[in-house]
Symmetry: C2
Amino acid sequence: MPQYNAPLRDMQFVLHELLKVEDVLKTLPAHADTNRELIDQVLEEGGKFTSQVLFPLNHSGDREGCTYNKETKTVTPPKGYKEAYKQYVEAGWAALSCDPEFGGQGLPLVMNNSFYEMLNSSNQAWTMYPGLSHGAYECIHAHGSDEQKALYLPKLISGEWTGTMCLTEAHCGTDLGLLRSKAEPQADGSYKITGSKIFISAGEHDMSDNIVHLVLARLPDAPQGSKGISLFIVPKFMPNADGSLGSRNPIACGAIEEKMGIHGNATCQMNLDGAVGWLIGEPHKGLNAMFVFMNAARLGVGMQGLGLTEVAYQNALVYAKDRIQMRSLSGVKAPDKAADPIIVHPDVRRMLLTAKAYAEGGRAFCSYVALQLDKELNHPDEEVRKEAADQVALLTPVVKAFITDNAWIATSECLQVYGGHGYISEWGMEQYVRDARINMIYEGTNTIQSLDLLGRKILMDNGAKLKKFGAQVQAFIEDNGTDEAMSEFISPLADIGDKVSKLTMEIGMKAFQNPDEVGAAAVPYLRVVGHLVYAYFFAQMAKIALEKQDSGDNFYKSKLATARFYFARLLPETATLIRQARSGSANLMALDADLF
Amino acid sequence: MPQYNAPLRDMQFVLHELLKVEDVLKTLPAHADTNRELIDQVLEEGGKFTSQVLFPLNHSGDREGCTYNKETKTVTPPKGYKEAYKQYVEAGWAALSCDPEFGGQGLPLVMNNSFYEMLNSSNQAWTMYPGLSHGAYECIHAHGSDEQKALYLPKLISGEWTGTMCLTEAHCGTDLGLLRSKAEPQADGSYKITGSKIFISAGEHDMSDNIVHLVLARLPDAPQGSKGISLFIVPKFMPNADGSLGSRNPIACGAIEEKMGIHGNATCQMNLDGAVGWLIGEPHKGLNAMFVFMNAARLGVGMQGLGLTEVAYQNALVYAKDRIQMRSLSGVKAPDKAADPIIVHPDVRRMLLTAKAYAEGGRAFCSYVALQLDKELNHPDEEVRKEAADQVALLTPVVKAFITDNAWIATSECLQVYGGHGYISEWGMEQYVRDARINMIYEGTNTIQSLDLLGRKILMDNGAKLKKFGAQVQAFIEDNGTDEAMSEFISPLADIGDKVSKLTMEIGMKAFQNPDEVGAAAVPYLRVVGHLVYAYFFAQMAKIALEKQDSGDNFYKSKLATARFYFARLLPETATLIRQARSGSANLMALDADLF
């Protein structure tokens, strides 16, 4: 009963009209040939694949879940997952944005980004299998030796092998400094790794020939804490030099978790019993190497939130037009029917527009950050690369936390549009809400993202990165400050810009005296920054829509209405958030832990 | 692994120190003997029963769910449910607040209310079985004939029989005017009822000897719409005059729903195939009669939200004290451990305090409304009864929507405290979130509650009921306006009081011109009123706590900190809500439905 159609029109709007990616890509030698036609064609094919192959497996995969076999310690994903993965590999989707040197197609990340939105809209649990592989690819690509690259990258790029990241242990998630898994050096340069990992997504399954685990563990001489952790490649099957598979490595799944959602993805306990691994990068610097993976993963999680927001919106919209119930308070709208379609009711529209605005704002934001990543990786000018890298660093925690929090809000509003039917599994909405909940937790909880943003990305360089982004916003404000038609967007944008500056300074001052002020302000602060970003993108989108609203293409009317809704109903959340961020740490810290 | 202990100390604080229920009950002849000792004793026993008998079945019941047998059209609830119900009946819990004339214990609703909080904390899905029976009891008690009362009430009060409410049909939930089930009058004064109902909670099960369905249907001569609906008693087994059971009535369960949560409760499709029923109350006035049931049910749903908030908080607190992860930013707090317990981190405290404040505010609020209900039903002075009835009418939609929305927020924050473990079923938190989601939907969605509050309860009498409640708040402000220690609570309370008055007038004026303004403002408006109510109760609780903070009882220090947190971090939500409510209908209604 649920449905999904890739929002190609809005993706094209964001890529071509808002971000003008073709022009940007021309400045990047690696992507100079990627023109609009190619982008649109790939996305169209991506839309077909995701809606026709993956989406039909989403609900059934949730109901069936993964099956663990205790005897063989293997996991069987839901029906159809393996076959869909085969199609994915055969069509070359795994290689889309990977390095041509190792068999990738070398297309820009900004395209891959749009494709990942579709993947997640159609089936988040399934998408995590190739999603984690892509993370492993990036990590080995950035930190692996030439030999490691030659051995692993072609297989990960083709999709024949998949990957995982094995960080968490039962006693440490956020605090990886506590981890205990041990790596003993062997005479042949390899290591024997022993330990137990939990929450390993896609840790075991039968969809690929081999699974390349990236495992954090400690060397015997490692310093305590987070500076004594090294990163290892631990393949499920030992690969021979020619890429064929050798013996089974003693890293095995001990159990899978029962959880709230993403039932189609196997969340594994992985036991390493002297498993053979090879060091990636330098000893004790595993966390640094893993951060490459983590940053890509954090953007990927933002995309998961975006994908769920979009598909929940699409379905709630169909329901709101179809379901008749009560008459409009301002007069009958469908006299030929026994009642009006519920989309006539203001609060149903509030719920729909909340999801629509969060989907469209999130799409613009994610695509923008992905484009900055392309610049960071490929621009010939070092200065431009550095600036792009700064923006990516600043905005990554915002993508992760703001978009996933918004997805929780939006999917829940979309469920509510359905009334009682929203709570019933067959309608599909409740799964989106359950799936959305994990995105606020994994790859660093949203609290951790907010501390990363405020503590590390902003206060540690005295707000330099934020000021640069602010200058860009300010330039847009000045360019459009005299355009009367734009004033409804420019005024609140300027206002929130000023408020972010003041709030940042204020918290910075307080943090000097008491570091707990950072933790007390960080979560509402991140959402304020998120709204600044969305206000900036909605103002830009409104500008384009104002120019084209009489073009006869109703798309622009819709975009304009969404922008107006955003400024009227969602941006005002900052009034509360700023008060919360400003309220300080005393209201949180005063009470003795024993008196809670 | 999860745990629950009835919050007896806080319940006693609310009942005895805040509301002084003993004094109020003395003014009600029916309850003049209910003293503090009795109340505390019953609640203590209730705490034992719920935590020892029901709570252990909560998680297992969720995992197992209900089982439908197609052949026999019967439903088996999860293991242990039937036995627990037997214990509940044998201990007389079903009779607690029922009419002594029919075998009830006649205790006040304010006590029953606290007991229902415990029931819902320990097991919402299970509690819905007796909860719906209690609704059926109230409806027959208010509208049944003497004969009907004599036949049904003793069995419902003893708990031998249970009850349901059969309203919804596939094409009508909110809009009951569309319902199609038909009742054909028979020569013997009974009716034959035919139709199909959905979403019937506790519609079929084996926990009681008989199930008394209250069914809405149309008589042959019924006017169209909601004024042509009549209410019928349709028992599963036809009762003989002596209360023994006769033949099986053709009302049967055709299927049960797969849903997001409350898996232990059977959500049934009920098919009536010429089932024998008896009219309750007058023909065509079924909706009025059903509203007795609905109002009790709405308060009951608020209690479900409160119960989940409390149990989620208790568990998150234990976890936050136990789990060690990272060091406090303001210096090591547990030097003997490898890391600090996460309760040292400001944002973990923010999440915990959010749940704590919503639990304690909700408890005060629900208990207050239940006490007003006792006054409405039992006060000798008609004027007092009328005033109490007005307050109950005004506050019922706020109890239902505000507390259940807050429970969604609070249970989700508590899940987040657990990090990844919150998403894993065995820790219990994700069930609370899933269970909490239904409470925002059934018994009238929270949008419907907000329209009931703003449209019917406030604008229809020009704000008279709200003004009376406001005068009570104002009196408290004036009584404490010169107390310096109270000014941190009195100032924001006075401020939000003024804002509610202004906002109400403003929306009232706009609604004259455009009725969609009511629908556009109602949802944020209800939350603003909810915060006014909580600010009022937290200010009162803070006053007591200030007086006793040096008593040596740390309870008051904790209460004071919670009140301060509420005013600093939760009340400021009104800054956003007021802007949203004030933003008008244009930002929702401008876009053509086709252009979404």
